[in-house]
Symmetry: C3
């Protein structure tokens, strides 16, 4: 074996951690790529929720070493005729079902190749109809991490199924965005980026929901008094609505899909 | 150190992941077997539930590399006079209390040796009365993973405590089985295997519960319309009752221990 | 690379495991210290609960290999002007915010150096205001695990913020302690140590709460009948109140901060 970093494989799934599902995926990887390092991104994607899975992957993938294989199994159509993919970008590999769950991470990654997973030589045998994360995706990720060329996995394809990602819209006063994810602490993450805010200039900004002021935009959670709302440019790179030491989504009744505006505060 | 695969140690426990218990077990293993690779099978076995722990282990153990040490601590009698075991089979090692939790995995593994854990040289010192997972089982698993011969751990014994595993029974029309596990998604897993179904020939099959038809047997969850029940040969190797994108156990009122029959559909 | 044990980095946080936060912390570590071994102590510290985080760390840290870097991020003041620390002791490194969360582990560890984290060369760039676990603490822990001298991280400081740790008090009849942690199984852990009990001599002991006998002190959970209370010297090194196969905190109404006494049973 060459003296190099062990390959990293990340896992993003809706398998939960109550049963043995994640464990056996790691067992399969340990058999095929014993020197790899497996890191859980999350296994708590709500069952079959493609947008939540896509957002977790989009937010997390770039913090991993170059060459990491990002294995993503949120697969409500397992056993149906949906496609299965491996994608090679300039920096990473992505493996998963062709149902859009990979697509948000690939908005900003330069794609080099997309191949359909059809070569059964890289699958477990037999393949079950209900757990292709174990039988197909995990072995494929393990083989990629060991340097198997992506072209061997199956025929190239031109594009993949993409989930719609709404871009923020300029409004009369500012920028309109929407809530795209609510984290476990109740922080409501929007699709508004640092660039959107920069476009609004140096004025102090506020967030408006359904015509009513929600909160100011600040630098950190602790800019607001305990229990009060604040919008901050979060660690995910997006503006998020938080309540200092509280649960913003519950307190303010915020849901995925809610539209809101960021605009300068007029004194 | 020889240039070989790092040894794998799996963990199956009822420790939960809220406190530090799993972490310190891994700390003890890292001290004694720093090159090993530890993989969680699950830590969410219901406290003291030997059958659930035994089923997780039985379903998961075979997906790991040859030589893996399967450490299983579901141990309601910790500190009492129940025995403690290491078992060597043709393919694996198993370590845990002698209370039956290892026994279902050993139904199909050829046993080479069973030794009682009595040699304190392979324990932490001192040994607590309440956390022998950390003080006895973890160090023993670490030592086995490094090649310590099993005979050094204590005297050989002939057999181990076994949990009852009910085999399916032939009925007038088909096969009677029972529900043995309900996973976190509500899929109700039975003790009926592919072989049981094969015995029923090529006819289309259905599942009958208490004299009423429950659902058809199909190839995948998505053979049923969304929200409808289907029985599929699951990834665990057993027939399981599922509801496409739903929770079968809740929807259909299924519980561990319920008997059901699989029989040909008569047109 | 020298032929030595891989460095261990433990994680103790209130990040939860539902979102991608823990995963990206591990991604950052994998980039900077690819040969390290990361072990979760817990990610289920209640959000911002410094005492629970401090107790988990205090109870768990000593089971890890010498040289382990204990990374602890319970940081309700993230983005405020609270300090950030690395501490080197005779056996370990500790990294975290200077808010007391490290202080209970350091009650019994001999401190060799404390340095403030100010050298941005060892941070990610840019540093977010809301996720310094990823941007500051994780990279610092990774660098320490690779042998970067602690003095390079920033200026030395003399002490750290300390949480109050109440010592048990001698009473007329015995020792008064208090409940300091309730684990997920409902075991109520006190600050009473083996040494406290030893001071009470060889008599049989009992636990008294608000003037009423709660239970006897025994050797193991199973000394009490199923469903009955027992106090045992727990695996954490402290006396804990348990109910054999039950939840002591719920059954007996025990809370963190409750005072109780241990005293000899007078026949």
């Amino acid at each position: 074996m060459k003296s190099k970093r062990p390959a990293v494989i990340t896992l993003t799934t809706d398998f939960g951690i109550t049963d043995w599902f994640v464990g056996v995926v790691k067992g399969v990887i340990a058999r095929l790529a014993p020197e790899s390092r497996v890191i859980d991104l999350t296994h708590a994607v709500p069952p079959g929720d493609l947008c939540s899975g896509a957002f977790c992957l989009m937010t997390g993938y770039r913090f991993f070493p170059k060459g990491t294989v990002h294995l993503t199994v949120v697969d409500p159509g397992v056993g149906s005729n949906r496609g299965m993919l491996a994608v090679q970008t300039v920096n990473y590999f992505f493996v998963g079902p062709d149902n859009g769950v990979l697509s948000w991470a690939l908005l900003t990654e330069e794609i080099k190749a997309i191949h359909s997973l059809e070569n059964e030589a890289y699958f477990l045998s037999p393949v079950s109809q209900t757990f292709q994360g174990r039988d197909i995706f995990a072995p494929v990720a393990a083989h990629l991490s060991r340097g198997v060329p992506i072209r061997r996995l199956g025929p190239a394809q031109n594009d993949l199924v993409r989930l719609r990602w709404n871009e923020p819209q300029a409004t009369r006063r500012g920028q309109q965005g929407e809530i795209v994810y609510v984290d476990q602490f109740g922080n409501a993450i929007t699709n508004l980026t640092a660039a959107c805010l920069k476009d609004l200039g140096r004025a102090k900004l506020q967030v408006v929901l359904k015509g009513r002021r929600l909160c100011a935009v600040g630098n950190s959670y602790s800019c607001a008094p305990t229990g009060k709302a604040i919008a901050v440019l979060g660690s995910s790179g997006f503006l998020e609505i938080a309540v200092n030491r509280g649960n913003a989504a519950k307190r303010l009744g915020l849901c995925i899909g809610d539209y809101l505006e960021v605009e300068p505060i007029v004194d």
